[in-house]
């Protein structure tokens, strides 16, 4: 493929491809991602729908928060069990609301660390924008439009964050 055919104007996602240069040599070309420019909206749509349906099931008591984050972060049960270092049989139980109720606090912390969220987020749904440090925000433009941000600051206590609502500047 020629260099001119690969170049895409998309600053949000840059990558390096190899292409035939003008002098018929092959070399690296820094370009925007064709996939991201043309299909990122579709990706956000699919993941956003998944997120909505998962949160509905969570609120209806059909799934546990562990199941929700495992699904959103595209982990299998086996991979999650390996990452949290909890036996597979026990992780499978934690996917259900009934057995989630029996979870130990240290297990919550392990899950939260793998999911990269504060432990508190396993017990709440934050409906306004969160700082991007914690949450995989699937639809950036929608998040940015929300009037307030919840920021959660780590403390020296691994189980505790300081939660601060902040008004977004217009």
């Amino acid at each position: 493929m020629k260099e001119k055919d690969l170049l895409v104007d998309f600053k949000k996602h840059q990558l390096v491809l190899y292409a035939e240069k003008n002098d018929e040599d092959i070399g690296p070309v820094q370009t925007g991602s064709y996939m991201a420019r043309n299909y990122l909206d579709e990706f956000h749509y699919l993941m956003g729908n998944l997120e909505k349906s998962m949160y509905e099931k969570l609120q209806n008591g059909e799934i546990s928060p562990i199941y929700l984050y495992m699904t959103l972060e595209e982990l299998t049960v086996s991979e999650l069990a390996a990452r949290v270092q909890i036996p597979l049989r026990r992780v499978k139980k934690h996917l259900t609301p009934k057995h989630f109720a029996n979870i130990h606090v240290y297990e919550l912390k392990r899950y939260a660390d793998v999911f990269n969220i504060p432990v508190a987020n396993l017990f709440q749904i934050i409906s306004t924008r969160q700082d991007s440090k914690w949450r995989m925000s699937f639809i950036d433009e929608e998040e940015m439009a929300k009037p307030a941000t919840i920021s959660q600051v780590e403390t020296n206590n691994a189980f505790v964050v300081i939660t601060k609502p902040e008004l977004n500047k217009p």
Partner: protein
Amino acid sequence: MSIIPFNHVMAAHCESGTLTALLNHHGLKISEPMVFGISSGIFFGYMKTPMLAFPSVITRIRPGHIRKNFAKRTGIKFVTKKFRNPDKAEKELDKLLEQNQPVAVQVDFFYLDYFPSWYRIHINVHFLTIIGKKGDNYIVSDCYHPQIAEISRSALRKGRFARGSMAPHGFMYYPVNVPHQLDFNKEVIKGIKNTAFNMLKIPLPFLGVKGIRRFADKIVEWPKYARDTEQLAHEIFKINILLEDQGTGGAGFRYIYASFLREAASILNKPELITLSKRLLDIGDGWREISLFAARMAKNRDLNNGRLREMGDMIREKADLEEVFFKELKQIIA
């Protein structure tokens, strides 16, 4: 602590890009395609395991083996370390930075918060170079990021010590006693021979050219693994991402390998390799058509059996072309 002067550039692939940048830093002039080719980086595998949420494809050799193969074939020594204790890993990293030694580390990509959240996935085999420390943040040269970035101590620790498949265990490395010049003749030949073997001779039905054929055969079964049409669409989209977007240099590493063959032609004085390089570019264009086809299918939710068979046929054609290609490559080098 300060920042080590380091020439940050974006690269096609994290493992070969990080290795190339470190070798260049130590004075060896070498390109990423040359590192990739000497290491026999190009490959194909069709993967379906309990650790993967969905069947997937790989288009390069096992992570970590680009550096291992390069070291074995060139004789360049690398200091490599793994750690059980994150505190010890951090102490060692800080000590090396104070000695002005940039260090490559292996991390789970998910914790790299200098990338947008939608871009981050759990994959334990990303490589980047740490080039300094500023307060509680580390300074990073990540070849997937346009500029030098910063990462907090806690995020780096999580990334370096994530568990699961191919867990990093705090892995770090840096080269020592790097020559400023190397005659790549023997290394290139070994690299090409090993590549041909990997693509043609491994006796497992999901690896090499056989792996491409398995992918062609199995794609029609993907609907049975998906919970609904939307998940299937998402997974079909990923074919494009795996081939084009996730650090392959385009067309599942076929373009960067074509670039390596161009350089190899000059080193080995074999102009036939230039012809093969052009053929591989064409094969790569075919893979790119497949990935665009996949993206259109997924976007339009045009995921019926007929469409999947059509994609299977396109993939099977690539298997045939690559089988002929790698056989010819093997003959030229023999």
